[in-house]
Symmetry: C2
Subunit: 135 residues, 2 copies
Amino acid sequence: MIPTHIEHIGIAVKDLATAIPYYEDVLGLKCYKIEEVADQKVRTAFFQVGQTKIELLEATAPDSPVAKFIEKKGEGIHHLAFAVQGIDEKLQEVAEKGIQLIDQKARKGAEGLDIAFLHPKSTFGVLTEFCEKRI
Amino acid sequence: MIPTHIEHIGIAVKDLATAIPYYEDVLGLKCYKIEEVADQKVRTAFFQVGQTKIELLEATAPDSPVAKFIEKKGEGIHHLAFAVQGIDEKLQEVAEKGIQLIDQKARKGAEGLDIAFLHPKSTFGVLTEFCEKRI
């Protein structure tokens, strides 16, 4: 099961209201949706560029993972998400190869996708997500 | 001039020889080329996933920008590259909008592309690259 494309790139920002104009007015992309993901304590803004989305992430609480990331590393690229098919089988496959999982099974993420994260300790520092659009 | 797609994602690693097997054996991607970019003091390994390449970056000298990045932040996502058309005009356009450029004009990068970087201070912490494949 090989990833088909980069589904999205998650970018941690302090404030969507100041970051969105950069992506729109400077890069020329269009924010097509803002969505709150309550269990991740983030508000997200989406932009499509080719096959891939840019997903800006703003913390909605001080204990949000995104708030902690910014505190430690500053604003910047937070995670990388691969589109896969058969997400639960793929998770099992990588776990059997010694990869540490954050999510043992897929759960619902933004945009109605099934998602799961791999731990960056196992993936050379890259917080890595698998995403699947199930019908 | 709107970017057409994510050309590549640059990922800083300490050692290509240990990181490549993760991308190949765990994620299922195929390393199709290793290339040294002397003026950036890096060796790069490329993987294609949909429209986008993963570009692993290993420093070839202690004063390589990639070595400094790892020293400061650890291994992880280093930069984000957008495919654009008319790269020099695009650079001028973003500079006029107040973006700080690292490269005032495009120069040759890996894979024969014309490339230029924007400063992360201007781009909400994301080291941002424009790339153009000119014939």
